[in-house]
Structure formats: structure tokens, C-alpha cells
Amino acid sequence: MIRPNSLPRLMHAASDRPLTLALHEAAFASSTSVTSLLDELEASGLTGRGGAGFPTALKARLIREQRGHNKFMVVNAMEGEPASHKDQTLLSANPHLVLDGAEYLASMIGANNIAVCVARDNPSVVNHVGRAIHERTRRSLRGPKLELHTPPWRYVAGEESALVHWLDDNESLPQYRPNRPHILKIGHGPALVDNAETCANVGLIGRYGAQWYRSLGTAATPGSTLVSVTGAVDHPTVVEVELGTPLRSILATAGADLDPQAVLLGGYGGSWLGASHLDVAYDNESLKPVGVSTGAGVIVVLPRSACGIVETQRIVHWMANESARQCGPCAFGLPALAEDLSHIAHQSRDPKAAHVRLVERCAVIEGRGACRHPDGVIRLVRSALEVFTDDFSNHVRGSFCNGTRATRHFATVPSLEREEELVWE
């Protein structure tokens, strides 16, 4: 039993090897028994940890209400965000907690299939999850079919419609969904998609109940969460924090630069937040008034020595390359944004005109992709325009910027060398 007010929870008993099923059950032993899982999940107030922060119980209820004999529970451990390491860290320590949660969710919605999706580019996590699934299936023959799936890693491959499309024997490309809420389907079976960390939280709620769960976090955003901290830190790290912890103390725990210029919150489709806001509490209710969210639990720390425009340009360039290139406004618009940013960052070819174009193009592109990939990029660009306002005007005016000479970059992007050989199948 984990004491109610204590951390870690998700990373309880974690070591450098994944807990075996027997050790897991000893470490997460519980004397409470939850009678109605879905009611308990609703009472817990858990929201999704994959980006959108939607109440997990509402999503589950929607799928439970669907007809269909062959429902699917999909665990999204694709972790497309380059600055995110939390799902792989969790699955490398407590894979069975994630699988517990997936089984609870499957029973809530009446699913007889559980598909755990890990990007094939991450062989050690694939191994850990494969072994954990093997341990469980060897022990029980009842219950839903538990399977590991390994789509290719791409930023948009973890978008839920792309993931479900891939599971349905297709390419991992996002789909057009004009009406929301949209029920995703694999064959004829309605599918519920939840992030791996969300599932692990459900694993805790199923064992210890909503009241226990709420003993950490805030009333509106209960529980704990995993945060990937990279950039100006001693070592890139994943920390588990109580929701509502001041941002500054998360940085301290992670060994980050405590006097940064800004932090990038959420992920590469998230927002920059200026250093004057470091005392804000890390939870979506408190972050909303300053225009940001916890997103996928990413914090990239930007030191004062770096140039926020250069960092943003590199991210946008990479994100443009990750477009699935199905929709015109995304396929053509994102490279155009990257180019505008490049002219501003490197003060080449009329940066002033590029700045005007950048703002206009954001307004033109927004909301016009089949998925939210372009909107994430626009959110990032707009937050950069706001947080680095002075830098933008200096760049546009042609003043010297120290940061553009920096050889080290803080928001890491995977190599762009493979630009032409994108794999979707």
C-alpha cells in the first residue's frame, strides 16, 4: 500500500529494471476493493496525460455506451514528442501498472482487446512491454486479449486517429473527423485511446480508490504526474510531481537552471512561458490564465544565453517535416512558417516582411488541418511572438543577437537527415 499523501506513486518501487508481475503485485498490494470502477474513475477527477487533458471517465463512458462486440482499449505509448521521455521511463519501471490500468479501462468499456502501442524505434521499451505482456498472458487465459503493437515512430503517429488507422491495417495517418465527439473504430469495434501514463493512473485508482487518489494534487486537478525536463538541466530527467507544485520547485527538483529566460511547456505543440511566471502552480487550472497547459508533461528550460527565435525556428522546421502532408494548409503552411522564422532568426532577406507574413500565415493556417498538428505549431509560434517580443523586434531591426551565435541548442530535434525517407506503414 502506498500512503495517501506520499510520492512517488506512478514511479513507486521503481528501479533500473522493470518490476516483474510478482514484485509489482507485492509493491502495489491493496486491501481496498473498488466496486464500480467507472464511478470511482469519475470521482477521481483524472484527466488525460497525452496532451489534451480531457476527463478520462467521460471518454470511457462514451465508448461504454457504444454498441459493438469487438471494442478496443488502446494504450498510447507512442511518445511522439522528442522532449518527452515519461512514457518510456514509466514502462521501463512499472509496465504492469500501465497494463493494470488498461485492463480496468477495458472492463469499464467492455473491450475484449487491449492494444498496447509502442514505437518500434524504441527496442528496449518494446522488450519490456513484450515481456510484461507475456508474464500476464501466461498466467491467465481469461480476460481481454492483450497485444503489443509497434507502429513506426513519427510525431503524428501518436495522434489518436492515426494510431487507430494504423491498428486497422493502414498507414499511420490522421483522419478527417468533421463531427465531434468522433468514435474511432478498429474494424467495426469502437476504440478508446488513452495515454500510457493515464492508464497507470487508472491502475492506481482501481487499486486504491478515488479518495486516496485525491489526497495529492488540487481539487480541480487531482493526483500526481510525470514531467520530462530537458534543456538547461544537469541531465535530462523525468520527475513525478504533485499537480499544483510551483513550476520553480519542479525545476529545482530536476536540477535545472533556476534563472532561465523562458520554459517551453507541454511539448513542441505547446507554448513558451516567460520567466516572470515561474511561481505559477503546475496544473491546468492555474496555467490556463497564463495561456499554457501541462500538455504532454514536457518542460524545456531555455537559458538566458540562448535565442528563443532560433530555438523556435528549429522546432517548427522539424514539425513541418513531420507533417503527414495530407492537407494543403499543413503541408505548405508549416514549411512557410519555418522559412519566415528562419529569415527572422538569421536576419536574412527582409526579416521585417517575414515577421508580418508569419503573423498573417498563422491566422490563415489555423484550424484547417484534418488533425491538430498545425494548430500546435501555431500555438508555439504565437507564444514565441509574445514571450520573445523584444528579441523579435531586435532581430527585425537588424540588431546583434548573441544567442544566434550559440552552438548549443536546448530544444533538441531528432536528426533531419532522414527527411526524405519517412515511413508510415
Partner: protein, 82 residues
């Protein structure tokens, strides 16, 4: 056929995955469609009342005339204020 009562409004929507960006729709329904710098349609987002017969006609033209069948008219039923 009897007279259809036209209450409510509509918006024209595009499936961006199907759309080829040749901009045919902007010619068929200029009051509802503009094109961006790459030729892809930007659709008027405010709902148009169904009583605006001219706009509705254009929308139908565009919907039928789109070579990729990427356009569809989305009807919004009238919500009574109370």
C-alpha cells in the same frame, strides 16, 4: 413537393485530406470560399441562414462541382432562444 421550410443555417466544410487545392470551389461559390496563397480553400466560418437562397445555391454548386468530393454542406438547426 410541398414548400420546404428553411429554418436554421449552414456552413460549407472541406475535408482537407481529399482537397487537391485547385480552387474550383472559389469560382463556384465566391461568396463562401476564398483561397490561400497555395490555392487551398478558406471557407467562410460564420453560419449562413438557409433563407439566403443565393448562398445556399452556390454552396450546392460547389459541393457538386468539387472534383474530389471534398466539400459538404453542414446544416445547423435553429436553436430557440428559450
Amino acid at each position: 413537393m410541398g414548400v420546404r421550410r428553411r429554418s436554421g443555417s449552414f456552413v460549407l466544410r472541406v475535408n482537407p485530406i481529399l482537397c487537391d487545392g485547385f480552387g474550383h470551389c472559389a469560382e463556384l461559390a465566391p461568396e463562401l470560399v476564398q483561397t490561400d496563397e497555395w490555392g487551398y480553400p478558406i471557407l467562410r466560418s460564420e453560419p449562413v441562414p438557409l433563407t439566403d437562397a443565393g448562398a445556399y445555391e452556390s454552396a450546392r454548386y460547389a459541393e457538386r462541382g468539387c472534383p474530389r468530393q471534398a466539400l459538404h454542406i453542414h446544416r445547423i438547426s435553429e436553436k430557440k432562444p428559450h
